[in-house]
Amino acid sequence: MASVPSKLYADDVSLLMVLLDTNPFFWSSSSLPFSKFLSHVLTFLNSILLLNQLNQVVVIATGYSSCSYIYDSTSAPSHGSDQGRMPALCSNLLQKLEEFVTEDEQLLKEASAEGTPSSLLSGSLSMALCYIQKVFRSGPMHPQPRILCLQGSSDGPDQYVAIMNAIFSAQRSMVPIDSCYMGSHNSAFLQQASYITGGVYLKPQQPDGLLQYLTTVFATDLHSRAFLQLPKSAGVDFRASCFCHKKTIDTGYICSVCLSIFCKHHKKCSTCGSVFGQAQSEVPSSTNRKRKASDT
């Protein structure tokens, strides 16, 4: 069980974990080109570091076949390696990002691409949470962590369990997951992640103005966020993925032993091996039960 972090540190110092979607399948079809997207994000990250000199930024790339840390403001040389006019953040990050993208592409060629072109969000979320635990362990004086998912790819239903696990762990250690989703349809995973952890879910209406959305909604520390008029939630998609076909479903059958979700009736549970008796369509309601009880 994760221990709840103590609240002894200054509440306006932030640790921002940015999960950057680099999935080539998404960016090749996006209306906002990746290079433009990056320049919005870099400006945003620079402004976060300037808002408070104790602020920290860590960037993790979420690729198609791998995930990797590509920037950490605490370990990067702050102003030393200025080659030309670019700030240190940009040059460090861009260099690592390029290495990452090349490697990710290499892996992609090795494995045959099949199924949905989703990116490995569960991997980068898990890494970010491990990093945040390290910050919690560092003592009572640590910055307030939050996670920002800059995601464009559609959800990968095969990651359902892993993503939910990450969401619950974030919730237990009170880390909000913010999401800025650039894809064409809403992401049910990110809607749930932000809803459950108390973060903000935003789908920019005009991707060209990304920087504006980022700075107005996601730049303020968690304490000052209370003063903002945050975007109203447009609902949360609570659909689940069935375990048998990884399909997203809104009604399904649940194994009473292990709570696995299936899209249709099976004779045997593929997860726990239980053999099912005759189909029982619904749980008898508690009101019925009460009625019966008072009759006897």
Binding site: S270, P284, A293
Partner: protein
């Protein structure tokens, strides 16, 4: 199992005696410091400075033992539970050997238990029963909302008269007999009294409980009583006596994780359920439960599109059981446990020091110990990534994901076909 219980009970009694010898003649407030022994966790380093003992590796060894024990148990858990908590409010519960009183301590920990229970057992229900003046009362019906139970319990904390185990069991058995066959029926009794004042033959009642497949467990606050032990043995429950408050807390929280599913106790079944969408904050609709127009905050039944205010519930219009899918997903880590990580042997290091990663894959912490020598760490047998000991514990006990496996596409096996 019963032998194990016995041994454990004895072990704890011995420990208790030792403690009493050590603490001889100390007042209660002094004992608190004696137990902590903060000076013993200091150690002298090379330069003669006092430092806290590095018990990280020790702790880690303990954790690994725990993990191994857990990974050998099967994944079939009784996840849908119907549990009655019976609280003894006879005059024995006013004894002050626990501070402020047995009753107060029990109430405090039952509250914490109820919250933890609902966290770990989605779809499960709890009901509260009290015994006082020789009769048993239903305090709350079986239900899924922790708040209502806690509120009812805190409002009814008075004790008087005798305790009657038989009346309590009869009452609870009558209710639990009506729950669906796939549910696990359980009773947890917090028993303060040293006797039971029964109207009839309690042995018959115990047999009735056994026949209804109700697992009865008792946590005693005074001393072992034969009838409680007999009850637990007959129905497959556990019986422990709490030695002090922290022991009581541990004992009661042991009942929070789902128990292993026993096929004969509950029949597996497929239950049809719907996962409603949460409506947009600005939308207006008339809810089917209160028949009121409401702005935002509500869920839409996927079958008939009726609006309901709360989950879990049953659609008033089409009768479909509606639950929130994240509620279910909380228990999925039981189904797909992360394999224990292997300790990276230090001898391996010397051979291929250059090839091994220098930082933890999860948190980027350096894996090098003092003097740039490789420190103790672990690696995942599936993805071969290396992790620090802290991440190892966090990954297995809270996160339930391996960051390495989740960041690799080809080695990823579809989760449903595992297990």
């Amino acid at each position: 199992m019963n032998n194990g219980d016995q041994r454990r009970l004895n072990g704890e009694l011995e420990e208790d005696e030792e403690d009493e010898e050590n603490n001889d003649g100390l007042a209660a407030w002094e004992r608190a410091y004696a137990d902590e022994r903060s000076w013993e966790s200091l150690q002298e380093d090379e330069s003669g400075l006092l430092r806290p003992i590095d018990n990280q590796s020790l702790q880690h060894a303990q954790y690994r033992r725990r993990l191994r024990a857990a990974s050998t148990t099967r994944i079939q858990k009784g996840l849908i539970r119907y549990l009655y908590i019976v609280i003894d409010l006879s005059k024995a519960a006013s004894e002050m050997d626990f501070r402020p009183s047995r009753m107060g301590v029990v109430a405090k920990h039952v509250e914490a238990f109820i919250r933890e229970y609902f966290y770990q057992n989605p779809l499960s229900q709890v009901g509260l029963v009290t015994i006082k003046d020789g009769v048993a009362h239903i305090l709350t019906d079986l239900g899924g909302s922790p708040e209502s139970h806690v509120k009812a319990l805190m409002g009814k904390l008075e004790c008087s008269g005798d305790a009657s185990l038989q009346n309590a069991l009869d009452l609870v058995q009558g209710y639990l007999n009506q729950i669906p066959s796939y549910g696990h029926r359980e009773v947890l009794i917090m028993y303060s009294a040293l006797s039971t004042c029964d109207p009839g033959d309690i042995m018959e009642t115990i047999q009735k409980c056994k026949k209804s497949k109700i697992r009865c467990s008792v946590i005693g606050l005074s001393a072992e009583i034969f009838i409680c032990k007999h009850l637990c043995q007959e129905t497959g429950g556990s019986y422990y006596i709490a030695l002090d408050e922290s022991h009581l807390k541990d004992l009661i929280l042991e009942h929070a994780p789902p128990p292993p599913a026993i096929a004969e106790f509950a029949i597996a079944n497929l239950i049809k359920m719907g996962f409603p969408q949460r409506a947009a904050e600005s939308s207006v609709a008339i809810c089917s439960c209160h028949k009121e127009a409401k702005v935002g905050d509500g869920y839409t039944c996927p079958r008939c599109k009726a609006r309901v205010c709360e989950l879990p519930t049953e659609c008033r219009i089409c009768g479909l059981t509606l639950i929130s899918s994240p509620h279910l997903a909380r228990s999925y880590h039981h189904l797909f446990p992360i394999v224990p990580f292997d300790e990276v042997s230090l001898s391996l290091f010397i051979d291929q020091q250059n090839k091994l990663p220098k930082a933890c894959f999860g948190c980027q912490q350096s894996l090098l110990g003092p003097g740039n020598k490789p420190g103790l760490h672990v690696s995942c047998p599936k993805c071969k990534q290396h992790f620090c000991l802290d991440c190892d514990i966090y990954i297995h006990e809270s996160l339930h994901n391996c960051p390495g496996c989740d960041s690799t596409r080809h080695s990823k096996i579809p989760t449903a076909n595992e297990g």
